[in-house]
C-alpha cells in the first residue's frame, strides 16, 4: 500500500503520484470502475429499445456533519442520485462521483464514506463508474463536498410527471417523515439535543419499481428532500394546476421528530427526508400501490396521506387533526428555530 498519510494534503490534489495513490487506494480499488480512461464507456441494451429515454440527473451534497446517525454524505449522495432517477420512472444504472476534499481531512473518514457508497450502490443495483477528486485549502470546503451525476433508462411507454396529476388521484408516502432533518439538527451539536433518531436515507429504486408494477399508470413521484413534504406537494400542485388536500392525522411521524419540532418551533412538513417519496396514483390503484410499498423494508410505514382535488388550484390544504383547515405554503428560505 503506497498511501501512507493519514490526512489528505494539497499534494493529494496535485495530479502527481500522491494523487494517483489516493485515488487508487481510496476510490477506484473500492468502486472498481470499468477501465481506467478519463471517461466510462458503457453499453445499455435498454437504451436502444424504441421509445426508451435516457434519464440524466446531477446533484451536489453538502452536509454538516458529514457522518451522522443512520448514514453519511456518501450514502445520501448515492441514494439521492438514485432517487432522482427513480422518481421519473427510470431504471438507475450508472453514477459519477466527484469529491472536493478539504485539506486535513482524515483518510480513514474518506475510506468509510467510500465504503458506504459502494454498499449503497450495490444495494440499489447501480455502479459508480467515473469520478474525480480535488483538494482545497483548509477552510475552503466543509470537510467534503460530493457532486454526482446519474444516468438511467426510462422504458418505453412510461411518462411520469407532476403535470399528469389530476383531481381524484391519491398521494402515498413510504414512511415516517422528517427523520433525516431531525437527525441533522440534533447532530449539529449547537442545539444540544440528545436524540435517538436516525436518518431515513435509503435508495428507493426498488420501491418505485414495485409501485409501478402494481400501478403502471402512476402519475408522478417526488423525493422529499430539502423543503420536505410541503415543498414537494406545492411543486406538484403548481405543475398540475390542481389543489391538494392532506390529512394531518394520516401523516406518519415519529414521536421523537414531533418532540424535536416542538422544542425548536419547527414544522415537520418542511423537514428534509433522504429516503422518502410521495407518489400520486389513480384512486383505483391506491390500495395496490400502498400494499406494494408496504411489502418492502423501505416502505413498511407507507401511508395514504391525501389526494389531488379540483378546488384551490396550486394550493395545498391540510385538514388539521383538530378539525380545522390550514394552508401548507411553500417555505420561504430556511426554517429557523424560534423561541416565540
Amino acid at each position: 500500500m503506497a498511501l501512507r498519510d493519514d490526512r489528505v494534503t494539497l499534494a493529494h490534489g496535485g495530479g502527481g503520484k500522491a494523487m494517483r495513490d489516493l485515488i487508487e487506494e481510496v476510490f477506484t480499488d473500492v468502486f472498481e470502475p470499468p477501465g481506467m480512461e478519463d471517461q466510462a464507456r458503457l453499453e445499455a441494451d435498454a437504451l436502444s429499445e424504441p421509445g426508451a429515454k435516457l434519464a440524466f440527473t446531477t446533484d451536489a451534497y453538502v452536509v454538516t456533519p458529514v457522518e451522522f446517525p443512520g448514514g453519511d454524505i456518501g450514502k445520501i449522495a448515492v441514494a439521492g442520485t438514485v432517487n432522482d432517477l427513480a422518481v421519473g420512472g427510470a431504471q438507475p444504472l450508472w453514477l459519477s462521483a466527484a469529491f472536493i476534499i478539504e485539506e486535513g481531512t482524515e483518510v480513514a473518514l474518506l475510506r468509510r464514506i467510500v465504503a458506504t457508497m459502494k454498499a449503497e450502490a450495490d444495494k440499489a443495483g447501480v455502479r459508480i463508474v467515473t469520478g474525480d477528486t480535488k483538494v482545497v485549502d483548509r477552510g475552503a470546503a466543509d470537510t467534503l463536498f460530493v457532486t454526482t451525476a446519474g444516468v438511467g433508462v426510462i422504458p418505453p411507454g412510461r411518462d411520469m410527471g407532476a403535470g399528469h396529476v389530476r383531481p381524484g388521484d391519491v398521494a402515498i408516502v413510504n414512511g415516517v417523515l422528517g427523520d433525516h432533518g431531525a437527525t441533522i439538527l440534533a447532530a449539529r451539536g449547537d442545539l444540544a439535543l440528545q436524540s435517538p433518531i436516525q436518518s431515513d436515507c435509503a435508495s428507493l429504486g426498488h420501491l418505485v419499481d414495485a409501485v409501478l408494477a402494481a400501478a403502471p399508470d402512476a402519475r408522478a413521484a417526488r423525493d422529499l428532500t430539502r423543503g420536505g413534504l410541503a415543498s414537494a406537494l406545492n411543486e406538484i400542485a403548481g405543475a398540475a394546476g390542481c389543489g391538494i388536500e392532506i390529512e394531518e392525522s394520516a401523516l406518519p411521524l415519529r414521536d421523537e421528530v414531533v418532540g424535536t419540532c416542538e422544542i425548536l418551533g419547527l414544522d415537520p412538513l418542511y423537514l428534509a427526508n433522504e429516503g422518502r417519496v410521495v407518489i400520486f396514483v389513480p384512486e383505483a390503484r391506491a390500495e395496490a400501490a400502498l400494499a406494494a410499498m408496504q411489502s418492502l423494508p423501505e416502505g413498511t410505514g407507507a401511508a395514504i396521506i391525501g389526494r389531488a382535488v379540483e378546488g384551490h388550484p396550486g394550493l395545498v390544504h391540510m385538514h388539521t387533526a383538530f378539525g380545522g383547515v390550514r394552508i401548507v405554503d411553500m417555505l420561504v428560505g430556511e426554517q429557523l428555530p424560534r423561541i416565540c
Binding site: 440534533a186 424535536t260 418551533g265
Partner: protein
C-alpha cells in the same frame, strides 16, 4: 416569548449549576431548573415542567391538568345531551325529517 413545551425531568446532570436532563417525546436536552427548584433537586426527577429557551420555568400541575380535561369532557357530554335533546325536539315536530341538524342550538 411563547414557545414553551412540556418536558419531563429524567435526570439531574449538574447540581451546582442547577441543570437537569428533560425529555420531550424521547428527545432530550439539558435545562436549567433554578425556577422550579424548591428543596432537594433530586425531587424534581419525574416531574413535568414547562420548558422555554433552555429553562424549566414552571411545574405542571397534574391535578389542574386533569381537572381542565375533565371540564372539557363534561362540556362534551353536556353538549351531546343538548344536541340529543334538540334532535329529539325536531323529531317530535317533524317526524319524517332526516337526521341533519345544524350545530347551533335553537
Amino acid at each position: 416569548m411563547c414557545l414553551g413545551i412540556p418536558g419531563q425531568i429524567v435526570e439531574i446532570t449538574d447540581e451546582a449549576r442547577m441543570m437537569a436532563m428533560a425529555d420531550v417525546s424521547g428527545v432530550r436536552r439539558e435545562v436549567n431548573v433554578a425556577c422550579v427548584l424548591e428543596g432537594d433537586i433530586g425531587d424534581l426527577v419525574g416531574t413535568w415542567t414547562l420548558i422555554h429557551v433552555g429553562f424549566a420555568m414552571s411545574l405542571i400541575d397534574e391535578e389542574e391538568a386533569a381537572s381542565t380535561l375533565q371540564a372539557l369532557k363534561d362540556l362534551g357530554e353536556a353538549q351531546e345531551t343538548l344536541k340529543q335533546m334538540a334532535e329529539g325536539d325536531a323529531a317530535l315536530e317533524n317526524p319524517s325529517a332526516g337526521a341533519e341538524k345544524p350545530e347551533v342550538s335553537a
